[in-house]
């Protein structure tokens, strides 16, 4: 996969993950064009389209469009499965996920995506493992929050 974009029906970008190095300007340009192209598609149309030299696979869940750009040799149908798997992970984590969840907790969405996909390929096919990893990360965060009482530097190194 080269990149994945999530955007709303109004064309607002909610999440973007790039697996190829591109300059900021190029990313913006690609995003703009792709959003326009996908939003212009009618509901009954095919989920795949050719764009530049990439294959674009997109699926609409409620008000969000999940859009992936894959290369020539990748399997489009399995990409649809990958998108579905990601949505399932989000759903499991947030409990009946909606767009607002992703807007307000976008960093968690990114964490989950990173646990699932690495370098554009699925790296963990077990749902359980992905969710377990995220839970552990959450726990770490909680601990850090609890132990936020100010301590002097000396105390930290154990001298007083």
């Amino acid at each position: 996969m080269q990149f994945m974009l999530l955007f709303s029906r109004q064309g607002k970008l909610r999440l973007q993950k790039w697996y190829v190095p591109l300059s900021d300007k190029e990313k913006k340009k690609i995003t703009r064009e792709l959003v326009q192209t996908v939003l212009a598609r009618k509901p009954k149309m095919c989920s795949f389209l050719e764009w530049r030299d990439l294959k674009i696979v997109y699926k609409r869940y409620a008000s969000l469009y999940f859009c992936c750009a894959i290369e020539d040799q990748d399997n489009e149908l399995i990409t649809l499965e990958i998108i579905h798997r990601y949505v399932e992970l989000l759903d499991k984590y947030f409990g009946s996920v909606c767009e607002l969840d992703i807007i307000f907790n976008f960093e968690k969405a990114y964490f989950i995506l990173d646990e699932f996909l690495l370098g554009g390929e699925a790296q963990e096919t077990s749902k359980k493992n992905v969710l377990k990893a995220i839970e552990q990360a959450d726990l770490l965060q909680e601990d850090a929050k609890d132990a936020e009482t100010p301590r002097s530097v000396l105390e930290e190194i154990g001298l007083t």
Partner: protein, 612 residues
Amino acid sequence: MLAHFRKLVPQLVRILKNLIMSGYSPEHDVSGISDPFLQVRILRLLRILGKSDDDSSEAMNDILAQVATNTETSKNVGNAILYETVLTIMDIKSESGLRVLAINILGRFLLNNDKNIRYVALTSLLKTVQTDHNAVQRHRSTIVDCLKDLDVSIKRRAMELSFALVNGNNIRGMMKELLYFLDSCDPEFKADCASGVFLAAEKYAPSKRWHIDTIMRVLTTAGSYVRDDSVPNLIQLITNSVEMHAYTVQRLYKALLDDISQQPLVQVASWCIGEYGDLLVSGQCEEEEPIQVTEDEVLDVLEGLLVSNLSTPVTRGYSLTAIMKLSTRFSSVNRIKKVVSIYGSSIDVELQQRAVEYNALFKKYDHMRPALLERMPIMEKSATNGPTEIVQTNGETEPSVVEPKHPPLVTQPANQANDLLVLLGGNDVPVIQTTMPTKPASAGGELLELLGDLSLSGGPAPAPAPSVPTSQPSFLLDGLSSQPLFNDIATAAIPPMTAYNKNGLKIDFTFERANPNPNIAVITIHASNSTEADMTDFVFQAAVPKTFQLQLLSPSSNVVPALNQGTVTQVIRVLNPQKQQLRMRIKLTYTLKGSPVQDLAEVNNFPPQSWQ
């Protein structure tokens, strides 16, 4: 490096087998299929490893067959795995049974209701049609049905696949479907579809009449979208099918009556009417009911084309030429003469040039007209571009309008008996020697100048290419690329003159007329020195009145040797757009025997031909 990994093929096969056979694992499961992501990955790896290797491919055959038959296809996941399997089977050196299985799976995909799956199937079939042609043929009817689908991408894929599947046996049926598709499809498809239809028709046409019918159908339905070079190709096809001329021209005439907005159709139709107008009027046609057409009706139609706003300049050129050709085939010459003379003052340069040339043909060369406007010979199909044409034009009555594509016509000196057409560019085009036409030496030794105009297919309409009667040598130039032909003109056209003769320094002017612009006179000065000493530091300067433009090129040297042993030459180019009498003021400076000499002179005795 691949060899290293090929050792792992048996292990991979085992893992895949376990995945399929093993029980239910809830965390890896997607709709009843355990870990499809891993399955797809393994299949992909097997594809890469087995690609050109017989042993690995053999090891995989079983497992691939198993996956292909056992996977559930009700959900997208199953189809994803099957898709990957099919791709793998196609890429490795699998046995034919397996390949047939793969194609059948794709055929099943085509019948699926899900658009995505149909799209995927069409794409894969396109890839495999080269290698497994027969197997794909079996699904031809399904593919043709997909042409009627609503989705744009599916339609496009189906169209490409249909063209790939066309062969001698199914051409009639397929063509019917494709023409129906052409009628109803979006504009973005029409160009591709039209070209595809032409190609297929050319390769597999069962009969000439069918071929012409098909092309006519394409022209009438998608006429404005066909490629430019299809017009010359079609004309060539029509000329070659001699027995169909009457039928063709009749059908084209009828089509023209209906609709004149589609330019390629109009161009082909007007060309044919020009060529075969007599067949049209005589009303003989074996294939269809002959229609009664009078000469006036035909001329009405062609004139209508000339004035219509819908016609492009190219089309107008075609119709004017057609009208001209009819002057030898019809009897109402006066009307044609009138039309042609009207367009002699047209704003469009191309039309004006043609009209003036044809006018001249009526006035001065009426005896040549029948020969010029005879029927076209059968054209050879040149491997590169379209048909070749030769334009015969008269040099003297040419207006001063110069077309960028046509090199200018220049008056020929009366004493030149033969023209040598020298071709630039050195392609394997023969150099043609043209002899004088076998006209009697009347009319004061007029000479026709022959220019070969090689037009690229797709360029503007070529002027009529008459077949020259056998009493003259034939000028057939095999057109390769468009190259202007230049006429080498002897400089004896304009007599040289002595511009200056004083103190032993004599300066002669010799003239040439430069191609491509006849308004430029190229003057070469020859300075010679009849004194005993050399003239060194010789500088020649010239000035002309404001209506001219002067360009002085560098001299051959600035030492004029003594006693007429040599000359210094220098080239002057004078642009004379208003054709006024050439006058020049010259200034000479040189050093003779150590002392500088300067002189001014005016040159007025230019011969009239140099500026006319």
